[in-house]
Subunit: 133 residues, 2 copies
DNA sequence: ATTCTTGCAAACCCTTTGCAAGCTA
DNA sequence: TAGCTTGCAAAGGGTTTGCAAGAAT
């Protein structure tokens, strides 16, 4: 999680904007928030910094169903998954410890190497469920 | 699952190519296979038909980590997952029965409703692993 | 005959890249 | 000073759209 990136004002602005956004946010929207706040950072810089933040493990990235990457500051250090509300976008980090073992077992069974896994859970949170009567 | 689409030769070609591809395939790759087979269908038509097929429920669509949509004919009624080789693209259908229960349990625990899950496993198959020495 | 589908090219959107100027360490 | 970072504009890649010609019903 340690980074050797330079501490530029743009990087600080981007990290700060990510903190303000309490859930997953697209690079474009993040850029919009930054500009709305009155800060000046180029869109290409937003992408460049997000890339570094993901590489260093400080930020999580997932792909939404429109093909946009969504970014979020990572609270948990360990491997985890997400439970997201399809209506309001609220996200919870969850852990399914047995899953890691299953993934390894299945990989071994089929003679696959270097297996990665992605699990995403989506549903409707209690708040949004109630709001729909 | 019933459709009211017209039965054009292009549509038949596209469905047939989807059947030949035994797993998830991108629209671009599907188009490649169709042309490799000697058939003539415009890329825009491939996209148009895939859109209809997804809308009618005859085809499943998921987004990969590069932001491409991947399509698959919904053959199996039962829910299952995939183990795909990152090198050659070979795909195996796998089942992780306990996962369904876990998903339900987590949903209940967090008061989420109508929870769906997507699990994708990727690795390097034995053949590709051996080919790299 | 009507309505949907096809196909081409252009448009779109998100993201990445080339490169000169600026700033951090 | 050396090298990463920034910023602009342009390119790239996947997907969608406008519209006229062609099929299916």
């Amino acid at each position: 999680m340690t980074t050797n990136s330079r501490n530029t004002s743009q990087r600080r602005t981007i990290v700060s904007a990510l903190d303000d956004a309490a859930g997953f946010i697209s690079a474009q929207d993040l850029y919009g928030h930054i500009r709305a706040r009155g800060d000046q950072v180029a869109l290409a810089t937003v992408y460049a910094q997000l890339k570094k933040l993901v590489a260093s493990g400080d930020v999580d990235a997932v792909m939404n169903e429109r093909g946009e990457s969504l970014y979020r500051r990572c609270a948990a250090a360990s491997h985890h998954h997400h439970l997201a509300c399809r209506v309001c976008g609220a996200t919870l980090e969850i852990e399914i410890p047995p899953l890691e073992g299953w993934a390894r077992a299945i990989a071994a069974e089929h003679h696959f190497y270097d297996v990665h896994h992605v699990l995403e859970l989506t549903g409707v949170c209690a708040t949004c469920h109630d709001a729909a009567h």
